[in-house]
């Protein structure tokens, strides 16, 4: 469905992609998540920056798009819940993220801040994406169809009004932030050096 505000189309989308990407890269750097130490320390519960950035983005973006969608001003873009593929992919992703020390987006941004290990990982990602493309026909035939729920959203799967889901999401984020700030203390000298 075409939405009223979606005036960026055609060749303009190229510039929009570049511009939005620049803003995204700046924000990743300012948030500190282009730093290997910040990312790995999240998984070791020594630094909660990654979780704070992600959950705040999810709540603010989620409520905004919920409201826009309610007024037909934004479309949802839901990825298929191909449950076996998503679970296996996420399992590999978590392993890869800790070894690489970045995720694909923060890795690209970290290259921009001068991190050469992030660049080595980029070459790895090019190789890995090539391997996936080569395996795609087999995966599409054998993995993707297993437990495929389609473009499913939580309110459809579980039930309940949309508004309650988003209120619950915001509440959950606030509880997580309160717990993190209550129980987590930065060890002196930890987590700040680049």
């Amino acid at each position: 469905m075409h939405t009223v505000f979606a005036f960026i189309t055609g060749p303009g989308l190229l510039w929009a992609g570049l511009l939005f990407g620049i803003i995204f890269g700046m924000l990743l750097h300012r948030g500190g998540v282009t730093d290997y130490n910040v990312i790995v320390n999240q998984f070791l519960f020594r630094d909660f920056t990654v979780l704070k950035v992600m959950l705040t983005a999810i709540v603010v973006g989620g409520v905004g798009i919920f409201i826009l969608h309610g007024h037909q001003l934004a479309n949802f873009h839901i990825k298929s819940a191909t449950m076996l593929a998503v679970a296996l992919g996420a399992l590999l992703f978590g392993i890869g993220m800790v070894i690489y020390g970045y995720c694909p987006g923060t890795g690209i941004a970290a290259i921009g801040t001068g991190k050469l290990d992030a660049l080595a990982g980029f070459f790895g990602m090019i190789a890995g994406a090539g391997a996936y493309a080569m395996s795609y026909d087999w995966i599409a035939a054998n993995i993707l169809p297993v437990a495929d729920l389609g473009k499913m959203r939580l309110p459809q799967l579980v039930g309940g009004p949309e508004g309650v889901w988003y209120a619950g999401l915001a509440l959950m984020a606030l509880v997580v932030f309160a717990l993190v700030n209550r129980f987590h203390r930065h060890p002196i000298g930890c987590c700040t050096q680049g």
Partner: protein, 181 residues
């Protein structure tokens, strides 16, 4: 001449993580409403892989590959330019804040695995292979699933978010367990 005080925010390397998260949320609202696109990175990397495969295996073989023909077409479009933009944005931001620094072995890695450059580069390369294979299998990464999908309450994305964190925590505690004296 701009006074140093007015530049202080630009020059402060790290901003409050809640502020940055909120701004990424606002950016999502803009990309959805103005361009009808979510934020995502890993498809763009798969497109770049397709472009890199052209000189290796030939344009015809790349065009004949189902994935590169249908899912991640190697071309300049919104998604691939978003990846280029992310690199440029971080470059600009780190230069403005004077925090751009060439570095190969990060602190936390060095404390556990030593100062070897080769060891770190090989691990980063292999980690990159695994992470992008996982991202493509799951059809999204920390951006496409973790942020864009989660904020739409997608079942696929919350599954990804929870499994990815659990897997990362387990991996981190195995890799970075304290060495016994």
């Amino acid at each position: 001449m701009i006074s140093p005080a007015s530049l202080s925010t630009i020059k402060t390397h790290r901003w409050n993580p809640y502020l940055v998260g909120a701004l990424i949320g606002v950016l999502s609202i803009l990309t959805f409403s103005l361009a009808d696109k979510p934020i995502g990175i890993s498809t763009g990397i798969a497109q770049a892989a397709g472009a890199c495969a052209v000189p290796v295996m030939g344009a015809e073989s790349v065009a004949a590959n189902t994935y590169w023909a249908k899912k991640a077409v190697p071309a300049w479009d919104y998604g691939s330019l978003f990846v280029v933009g992310s690199f440029l944005g971080a470059l600009i931001s780190s230069l403005m804040s004077r925090s751009f620094k060439m570095e190969t072995v990060p602190t936390v890695w060095r404390e556990q695995f030593g100062p070897s450059v080769a060891k770190r580069l090989i691990a980063a390369f292999l980690g990159g292979v695994v992470i992008i294979f996982g991202a493509r299998l799951a059809d999204g990464c920390t951006s496409g699933h973790g942020i864009s999908g989660s904020l739409q309450l997608a079942v696929s994305s919350w599954t990804f978010f929870l499994v990815m964190f659990a897997s990362g925590i387990a991996t981190a505690f195995v890799m970075f367990r304290r060495r016994r004296a």
